[in-house]
């Protein structure tokens, strides 16, 4: 490699960072729920699929964009609250692994229900943002990626403000800090959990629309959860900032590895490379980048 192509490197890097934002979008939904209820919600991917599929099906049946968005939002909030009521509440105080396995079952139910209701064919989703690249300082950047990044930034800003300045946000933080203490001072835990699940449903809607526009709305959409897991591991399950930073890191290293290391192995390494990065990092810092020091004691 005598004449190393730096502008190409920069392009790959920027592309990777922007695709990392997409991973972060999914990861934030996980963090919300993990932070307040200690559940690693594997069904987040299924919720994402459900949201995107519902939205697309409504639009295809002639609903205007805004109305479809509103209806889907309402359905996702209802779904989130129903999950909390039916699945999670009977399992309160069970070991985290049990809760995780319950969400694994839940993801099967939601995936099956979504496709039973709306069919299994692939839908195109057009958000009105064209995926054409344009040039900034000699680097090609996709307009869609920039839009996704802007949406992610807005969402994070909104969530941060919500957690910091509202009364219910304060309650969220109290519960995240110490469930029993929060309960003791009279916070209504079930109501807070229901709100969090509703919020996670809304986040799934946003992520689902962006991913759906990128990949097409189909079953494989629920597999983005597998892209988000290494991000979560790297960033720590309970940190929104961690989800963002880790998403960027994973996105960038994944793209760089794919371009510069991948050819030596015949390509296709992106299915596991992110996991390798996350694992290697964990062996040095078991709590992730921004995770709380004590991850799990038993």
């Amino acid at each position: 490699m005598l004449d190393f192509d730096y502008s190409f490197l920069a392009e790959v890097l920027v592309g990777g960072l922007l695709s990392g934002v997409m991973y972060s979008l999914v990861a934030i939904g996980f963090v919300l729920i993990y932070k307040t209820s200690g559940v690693l919600n594997f069904a987040q991917g299924a919720m994402l699929l459900f949201a995107a599929l519902t939205f697309v099906s409504l639009v295809e049946r002639g609903a205007p964009f805004a109305l479809a968005l509103l209806i889907t939002f309402a359905i996702m909030v209802a779904l989130g609250m129903a999950i909390e009521r039916v699945v999670l509440r009977p399992l309160v105080n069970k070991p985290p692994i049990t809760l995780f396995m319950a969400t694994l079952g839940l993801s099967y139910v939601i995936e099956g229900a979504a496709q039973l209701a709306w069919g299994t064919q692939v839908h195109g989703l057009d958000l009105g943002i064209d995926d054409t690249p344009f040039e900034v300082a000699g680097i090609l950047i996709s307009k869609f990626d920039l839009f996704a990044a802007a949406v992610a930034a807005t969402m994070v800003a909104f969530l941060t403000a919500f957690f910091r300045y509202t009364r219910i946000g304060l309650a969220f933080r109290a519960v995240a800090d110490d469930q029993f203490a929060a309960f003791a001072v009279g916070l209504k835990l079930p109501r807070i959990w229901a709100t969090v699940w509703a919020a996670a449903g809304a986040v799934a809607l946003v992520a689902g629309l962006l991913w759906g526009a990128r990949l097409g709305v189909q079953f494989s959409l629920s597999l983005v959860v597998l892209k988000a897991l290494p991000v979560l591991v790297l960033g720590g399950f309970d940190s929104i900032l961690g989800a963002i930073v880790a998403g960027l890191l994973i996105g960038a290293t994944e793209k760089l590895a794919e371009v510069y290391i991948g050819p030596f192995f015949g390509g296709g390494i992106e299915s596991w490379f992110a996991y390798l990065v996350a694992l290697a990092f964990l062996l040095v810092r078991p709590a992730g980048l921004f995770g709380q020091k004590i991850v799990e004691r038993a």
Partner: protein, 350 residues
């Protein structure tokens, strides 16, 4: 997770000795089934049931007993199957049973390698790291032609099943072959969980700090759990490939298969050897029942797509219902049922 591990017969009341059950099941499996079952029963139900049960026994040792959640079982099955295939292919005159054992040992080595992070990671972090095994193994088997003897899509064909010149190449033979392997490994597993090592597994699961304090070598115990569990799962993979499907590709050992095995032990009962068999029976039989019932009720509307989706919904709901209502799974249900019977039979003479 469950703590009920031992079921010892009560001393005073009259009860069937605990060894009668397994012996009776084996007697039926060896003595009756081969004569009454048709080829379909063996090929579509009994052989996959045996392979899945064995995989579930393996995962149960790791997840149910030692408390280390693994989402990579299918990867270890794949390693077992492909390694057994290659040992059989490349070492001439190696008896098939040794190939399968070596396949299990290869899975064991890979399992220990991916279990190493368990020394520093717990819970979800470890579960995610086992996902790395899942994706890496599947990628490697597809990418490197050597593993599948340069088949373009990574497909391998099973060698003929024979031991000491006796051929097992008909449906009943393959069933008996699988049955024997499963019986031996299950008996060993049952023995294992009642030894000090098995007790160490449980101690590490229930309270790692306390286990360390009373002098249990945590590192060794965890790696042993990964090694033994992966060996059994690897042999199960070889059975799945050689005795059941005969032709397998890496995509057959995907994440859904891993989840399936995890579901088996949840439904059957964590930390229960019998539970693996109960759960596997349900997982194998219930899609068949569902398709029959579905087409009976809905007629032509019940196509394969609808079947697939309703299967997912019912399976997912079953998991949730079991976790909420019966965390110890079908084993606990079974025990309650049989205990009820024995109590009524005790009361009757009065």
């Amino acid at each position: 997770m469950s703590t009920a591990v031992f079921d010892r017969a009560e001393t005073k009341s009259w009860r069937v000795p605990s060894w009668i059950g397994p012996i009776a099941v084996l007697a039926v499996a060896y003595g009756v089934m081969p004569f009454i079952g048709g080829a379909y029963i063996f090929e579509a139900i009994l052989t996959p049931f045996l392979a899945l049960s064995l995989a579930a026994v393996g995962l149960n040792l790791l997840t149910g007993y030692a408390g280390q959640l693994s989402l990579g079982s299918a990867a270890f099955m794949a390693v077992g199957a492909y390694a057994a295939y290659n040992f059989n292919l490349r070492i001439h005159e190696l008896p098939l049973i040794f190939s399968i054992a070596l396949g299990g040992l290869s899975a064991s080595a890979i399992g220990i390698a991916f279990g190493l992070p368990s020394l520093r990671l717990r819970g979800f972090y470890l579960a995610v790291s086992t996902l790395a095994a899942q994706f890496f193994v599947q990628w490697a088997l597809t990418k490197f032609g050597w593993f599948s003897n340069n088949n373009a899509s990574g497909v391998i064909d099973a060698p003929p099943l024979s031991i000491l010149g006796v051929s097992f190449d008909d449906p009943v033979g393959r069933y008996l072959f699988a049955l024997t392997v499963v019986t031996v490994l299950t008996a060993l597993s049952y023995r294992l969980v009642n030894t000090q090592t098995g007790h160490n597994f449980i101690a590490v699961r229930d309270n790692e700090l306390a286990a360390r304090v009373i002098g249990i070598p945590i590192l060794k115990t965890k790696l042993l759990a990964f090694g033994i569990s992966s060996f059994i799962i690897g042999v199960a993979g070889a059975l799945w490939a050689f005795a059941y499907l005969r032709t397998v590709e890496p995509a057959g050992f995907n994440l859904d298969r891993s989840f399936e095995i995890l579901f088996i032990i949840i439904i059957g009962g964590l930390a229960s050897i019998r539970g693996a068999f109960f759960g596997a029976a349900l997982i194998v039989v219930f899609p068949l029942i569902l398709s029959r019932v579905g087409s009976l009720l809905l007629g032509g509307h019940f196509d394969s797509g609808v079947l697939d989706m309703s299967q997912r919904i019912v399976l997912g709901s079953l998991i949730i219902v079991f976790l909420i209502a019966e965390p110890d799974g079908l084993t606990a249900l079974w025990d309650r049922l049989t205990k009820g019977f024995s109590r009524t039979s005790r009361q009757q003479p009065q």
